[in-house]
């Protein structure tokens, strides 16, 4: 990469922000750290980031992260935005993703995982911008673009978050194989509890069902996990 890619972190906790900055800098990214919405807005106007990591809860600005996300998405449709938050409720995740975030991570995530995510988002960004070898595979009506982290079903794009993409990818890669929850978590570079996996899968199913009412490729294997139905 020619220019160091620039990551903006909006995190009200100074120590945590500093740790993230250190880790990202070690990976060769340029990093700006902001502690609230106002300074983030000003800073980003001055130094436009290539990727933004936002904490939902910004000090007294309880949902400042959501607000900031909305503003950034309004300015740029392609800027990768990732939520990294201690708020791990289903409701918050859905709200964040609906505002156009590309991913929603709990602060449980390890730095290693975080770096993988950031790298993946950049990769997708690059792939979407064009160029790069076409790495893709198909499973019946499903087509997975491993560069752009996108998925189509019956040739219609399915809007998935990064986590959801990785879950689908992990399942569809080996149809008929049961993936346990742990395996799915590993694949998605995250630590999730059972219920979150369940609701992720549910959300994925719903997205596919939105395209094809007869979608039933993701099968629940009770007590074990999920598998992609081999047709």
């Amino acid at each position: 990469m020619a220019d160091a890619q620039h990551v903006a972190i909006v995190e009200d906790d100074a120590a945590l922000g500093a740790n993230y900055r250190e880790a990202l800098a070690r990976q060769g990214y340029g990093v700006s750290l902001y502690v609230d919405r106002a300074s983030a807005r000003d800073g980003m106007a001055h130094t436009p980031p290539d990727l933004v990591i936002i904490d939902v809860n910004l000090g007294t600005d309880i949902e400042g992260g959501f607000e900031l996300c909305r503003e950034l998405r309004a300015q740029s449709a392609v800027l990768p935005i990732m939520f990294l938050t201690a708020r791990d409720s289903e409701f918050d995740a859905v709200s964040g993703l609906r505002l156009g975030a590309d991913d929603y991570l709990s602060k449980d995530v390890s730095l290693e995982h975080l770096m993988a995510r950031v790298a993946a988002l950049f990769r997708r960004q690059a792939a979407l911008a064009g160029g790069g070898a076409e790495r893709r595979f198909t499973r019946g009506a499903l087509a997975v673009d491993e560069d752009r982290f996108t998925v189509t079903w019956q040739e219609q794009p399915v809007e998935l978050t990064l986590t959801e993409y990785w879950l689908v990818h992990a399942l569809a890669r080996h149809p008929g194989h049961v993936k346990s929850r742990q395996q799915l978590m590993d694949a998605a570079n995250t630590v999730l509890d059972d219920n979150t996996i369940t609701s992720h899968v549910k959300r994925i199913r719903r997205k596919f069902l939105g395209i094809d009412a007869a979608f039933d490729a993701i099968e629940t294997v009770y007590g074990m996990g999920y598998r992609w139905r081999a047709h």
Binding site: A15, N19, L111, D193, D194, N195, Y222
Partner: protein, 646 residues
Amino acid sequence: MRFGLRRQLLAIGLVTLALPIASALYLRETEQALRSAQAGFLNDLARGLAPLVPEVDALSPPGRADEALYAHPLSVTPTLDGFSTDWRLRVAPVPAAVGGDQLRVLVGERDGTLWLAAEARHTVSDAPRFDVACGDNLGGLVLTTIAPVAPGAVLPATTATGFAGRIRGDWQPTADGSRLELRLPSGLCHNRLGLSVRAGGLGARTYRDSIPGALIRIDAGLRDALATNALPGIETFAIDQFGHRITPVIGTRSGGTEAPRKGFAQRLIASLMGGDADAGSAVFEAQAHRPVARALDGALAGNTVAARYSAPGGGLLLVDARPFGGGALVLVQDAEAILTLANPSLQRLTTAIIVTTPAVVLLLLAYASWLSWRVRRLARHASRAVDARGQIQDVPPDTAAGDEIGDLARDMRQMLRRTAEQQRWLASMADTLSHELRTPLAIVQSSLDNLEQGALDADQRRLTGRAADGVLRLRAILNAVSNASRAEQAARTAETAPVALAPLIAQLRDAYAATFPSHAFELRSDAAPTVVGTAELIVQALDKLIENAVRFAPEGTTIDLWLETQDAQAVVQVRNLGPALPQGDPARLFDSFVSTGGTGSTHLGFGLYIARLIVEAHGGSAAAADWREDAESGVVVTLRLPLAAS
């Protein structure tokens, strides 16, 4: 049976019945005292009267009672016409002692003349022949014989010496015989009189042997003696040994014989006393020639008797009868119906007590019912407010009642509300705490991650490794907590659909066998229940049960999975060998943060808590118990889920 508030107040209410009971007893005693005082007064009069009457016999001539003829005093002088209808007597002729209805006789007396009326039944063609016999205690003789030949006046066919001309008669044939009316001077008969008739084969007589039966007549001496000592307001007479009244009724009663009004109180007291009169409804007929009353029988048997009788034509009589000269002396006085009630204020008091007492008891009962209803409603609210685990489910509605029960209800309501708040706070605290810990934990972890990226020597790596382990464990705890609250959330909001349990559990058994190769899993299912719910959540609940069972069951043992249907519920049981449940309430095992320890990694006892949250969200229940079979023992956890309506 429980002695509840209503029963208690009813018992207290019944105590008020003591008042009418005491009143009734008092009234009864008063009444008895008054009656006996009245009887005593009459008794005194009678006792005072007896010595004033000359020492005379009240005896009629001895003989058989059915041979006796009573000479009724006549108020008018009859016409001698063969009929006794003009005698103005209200008595019927008496059947003869021998021959019965074939000869019926009636005797009257007025101004020294005896009147004799006889009805004989015989064939009309036969000519009757009447014999009139008189006598005294020494013997008798036929005074005259009458053998009529034609209707109308008859003369004696034969007459004992000296009496001819003083006996007159009139004979009339009738449809079934004939009638004879005879008049003779009283002096001809001393104290015995008899009549016999013969006609064809007929033979009837008023006496059996040679001596005629007694002629019972008013005893002039006795009458005069009683008349001399007549008492105001009191009737006096004497009876002979047969019970015949042998004096006129001397004196008059005060005459207040109007029928007594009978109000509720009177009737009640009358029935308390066993009736107004002592002898029931028996009427005492003083004017009868032979008054019939048990009191008189008593007096003839030698006892002084006082008794109350109904008077002819209404009212009450007090009768005092005492032995006198072989017969009895009888005093009769008017009596008040209910002496006690002669006092109007006492009567009003009685009525008031009788009316108010049941009203008070009813009022008390109603009040008690109302009170106990309120208390029971309060208890119902209280027991409904708190579930088996002590969780406040439902705060009872507010009440407007201003009394102590209202205060109690309000206090209880407030207490429940505060406890509910406290419980909510406690429940949310774990969640909040785990949430608040995430950021500092993330700082520690990211610092460690950064540290490990740097150049560390072996010792430093060992230490950061330990710190990382600690972080991992701390995170596991936080995840367990949020997992529980997430499960609760999911159970509340999840979409439901019919879930067939049998195939689900069969699938799970295989999954568990694969996941936990250290244990064997045996499924026993003899039912195919379907419940309404979320399969993922039900599976999650079962996962928790299995995790728990695996944790306690020794390696290599079998964990039993049972599925059956009981009372419209699907029952899933997970049974494992192993240690018994700890002491205490088994239901507490399903609370959060309750762990029975055991082996293994971090365990906060959220498993059974989550299982319970899930089954309760499905309208079911969870329970744990020890089991023992032969030499084996362990724990069985049971989930119950309502069956889907078919």
